[in-house]
């Protein structure tokens, strides 16, 4: 048996019958650690009293009594009464008397447990998700509007541009992301190159690896990798920061000072993203090409001279521009979603976590959707 049980005496109830009356002698600890036993003893007494006779619960022998024990006993008195056996409790210890007075049985308000229905609940959930998605879209556009209004205020000189804040954000968004972006871009470039070389070997055209790599990395991979990385790294931290500021009423504090949280918190962050993401995309492109080139040389035996001259043939300025043009749009998508989710945090710690997750998931999803839209656009204008 576990040691915590040994510290207490088991509650006990013994039934006696004398001259048409029933006496129940109670003993032991009627307290919280013995909750299960208390309930069981009380149920036994309730089942044991079959006749319609007066019942006396003798609580003189009770060693320890707390609110739980007192509740269970006074509930027993009530239940016996319902059964047609009017019951009373005799108590001698003054402390127990006070407890019984304070914890008298009365019907307590039922808890509102919502019942679950599988199919209707599922349909309701689907409906809710659709409505929420529409709301998200409207919120996003409204937020974008207030961001642009904030930017205009800053440009027109109606409110101060927070240069220090921008630089601080730029360092976090841009500079601190460089190592990880360079690393993953090089690795992914290398993997693409290795796969291309492997497939091209059977055609004897290994040097075309430069064509594949150049188009793929510059048009799609660099900007996608960077955006997804930034959505996870920076978007989540924006949401968490703004969310915890919201929780601690710091955002309300700003409002009461007549300051616009959008101008102070959102504009520097999104502007930093708008500057930082294209720069990172460029770095990512270069790192991807470099990684691919190294693998092409070591694994495919393509010399750097050949690689570079094929690259020059394969790509034009448009290949590079297609990738870079997308970057600011990705920045806007990530920044707006991260800030909206941050401001949507409510009081609980759970909501902060849920919003941060939502921010990252939505940004990555939207980044891919936007990339798809761009692909369709560039294909139709044949650029």
């Amino acid at each position: 048996m576990r040691p915590k049980r040994r510290l207490t005496l088991k509650p006990d109830a013994v039934l006696h019958r004398a001259e048409g009356a029933v006496v129940v002698d109670l003993s032991g600890d009627w307290s919280a650690p013995n909750a299960h036993e208390c309930e069981a003893e009380a149920a036994q007494v309730l089942a044991g009293v079959k006749e319609r006779a007066a019942v006396t619960l003798n609580a003189r022998g009770v060693a320890r009594l707390d609110t739980l024990g007192a509740w269970v006993l006074s509930r027993l008195v009530h239940d016996l009464g319902e059964q047609g056996a009017p019951a009373t409790i005799t108590v001698t210890q003054p402390a127990h008397k006070i407890l019984f007075e304070e914890v008298r049985y009365r019907p307590l308000p039922e808890s509102h447990r919502t019942r679950q229905f599988l199919v209707p609940d599922m349909l309701a959930d689907i409906g809710k998700v659709m409505v929420d998605a529409m709301k998200d879209l409207v919120n996003g556009i409204a937020f974008l509007g207030s961001f642009i209004a904030g930017c205009i205020n800053v440009i027109m000189g109606r409110s101060r541009f927070r240069f220090a804040s921008l630089v601080a954000q730029l360092e976090r968004v841009g500079l601190r992301s460089v190592p990880i972006i360079v690393l993953i871009s090089m690795l992914v470039g290398g993997i693409i190159a290795q796969q291309s070389v492997f497939q091209l070997q059977s055609f004897g055209t290994v040097s075309f690896v430069a064509d594949l790599l150049g188009v793929l990395v510059l048009r799609e991979l660099a900007v996608l990798l960077t955006s997804i990385m930034i959505a996870g790294r920076t978007g989540s931290s924006f949401t968490a920061e703004l969310g915890s500021m919201k929780m601690r009423e710091e955002i309300d504090a700003l409002r009461t000072m007549g300051l616009d949280p959008i101008e102070i918190l959102v504009v520097p962050r999104i502007v930093a993203l708008l500057i930082g993401l294209p720069l990172l995309t460029f770095i990512s492109s270069m790192a991807g090409l470099f990684g691919g080139g190294v693998v092409a040389m070591l694994y495919g035996g393509v010399s750097p001279e050949v690689f570079l001259s094929r690259l020059q043939n394969a790509i034009g300025i448009n290949t590079f521009v297609v990738g870079m043009v997308k970057a600011p749009f990705m920045a806007l998508v990530i920044g707006v979603i991260a800030c909206i989710e941050g401001f949507a945090v409510s009081g609980s710690a759970e909501s902060l976590g849920a919003r941060t997750t939502a921010s990252v998931v939505k940004s990555i999803f939207m980044v891919i959707v936007v990339d798809g839209l761009f692909a369709m656009f560039f294909a139709s204008i044949r650029y």
């Binding site: 576990r2 040691p3 915590k4 040994r6 510290l7 207490t8 307290s31 919280a32 650690p33 909750a35 299960h36 208390c38 309930e39 060693a63 707390d66 609110t67 739980l68 509740w71 269970v72 509930r75 402390a95 006070i98 407890l99 304070e102 914890v103 307590l108 308000p109 039922e110 808890s111 509102h112 409510s346 009081g347 609980s348 710690a349 759970e350």
Partner: protein, 280 residues
């Protein structure tokens, strides 16, 4: 150590006063800074002890050290005559179930409703029917004077006073013998603070609690506390009922109990409870 509760209790009763918490020669440091320096304190069974001291003076540190949340450098803490340092994890848990703590800001779990907060320690430690779980939670909610509809609210939907009450209900969930209160009336308006004081006094009588209360509230000190202990320079400089405090010649105590707030509260004229109260 296969002693029953009753026999350890007897040993304690034989040894001078019946203290449920004994702190002996306690030293606590944060880095080089000495917070508590050779502190001695007994908390007697069934009393409400008010613990006062300057802000940042180590009142909360003492409470946290007793609770095992802060580490000590030297000294001994006995709770129910058991040295918490030497107990096994299981036995320590058994002691921890016999105290309840009301943190200054409530420390309710924000992702759970008030009912779930109260039931959380019960569900961890006790076995009983679902019906009894619900009834016990409803009972505790009623005991602390909350409305029944507060049960299904989340902490972020509660006012400051309601948070304190809900947190008190959670502290009482396992029917503890010792109740630790960290500035229970801070952030409450004078009426709310008065009600809270009365609530604690009532609960103490009903449930036979021992209450250790860290407070700044002069009204609480004179109104509900049986004894007061004052902390300065890392030691308890005075111990006793409010009259002892008032009579003390220690400069800090004189400033505390005879300062303008205390005077405005007419501590000396005996109409203390009717007037101003510290509201920090």
């Amino acid at each position: 150590m296969v002693v029953t509760e009753a026999s350890t209790g007897d040993v304690a009763r034989r040894a001078q006063v019946d203290a449920v918490i004994r702190v002996h020669d306690l030293e606590v440091r944060f880095g080089e800074k000495i917070i508590l320096n050779g502190l001695n304190l007994d908390v007697r069974r069934g009393e409400i002890l008010g613990f006062v001291g300057a802000s940042g003076g180590g009142k909360s540190v003492l409470m946290r050290t007793i609770l095992g949340l802060a580490t000590k450098k030297r000294g001994k803490i006995l709770v129910f005559d058991k040295d918490l340092d030497t107990l096994s994890v299981r036995r320590r848990e058994a002691v921890e179930r016999r105290w309840g703590v009301l943190f200054q800001h409530g420390a309710l779990f924000s992702s759970q409703t008030v009912r779930q907060n109260i039931q959380m320690p019960m569900r961890e430690y006790l076995t009983m029917s679902e019906r009894l779980f619900d009834e016990m939670a409803a009972l505790k909610i009623e005991l602390v004077g909350l409305k029944p509809d507060a049960a299904d609210k989340y902490p972020s939907e509660l006012s400051g006073g309601m948070i304190k009450r809900a947190a008190l209900a959670r502290a009482l969930a396992l029917d503890p013998e010792i109740l630790f209160l960290d500035e229970p009336t801070s952030g409450l308006d004078p009426i709310g603070a008065q009600e809270f004081d009365d609530l604690i006094a009532t609960l103490q009588r009903t449930l036979g609690l021992t209450v250790f209360m860290v407070t700044h509230d002069l009204d609480s000190l004179s109104g509900v506390c049986d004894r007061i202990a004052a902390l300065a320079d890392g030691k308890v400089i005075a111990e006793g009922p409010i009259e002892t405090m008032m009579a003390s010649q220690h400069p800090w105590l004189r400033a505390y109990f005879h300062g303008s707030r205390a005077r405005r509260g007419s501590l000396e004229t005996g109409h203390f409870r009717s007037s101003l109260r510290r509201d920090d």
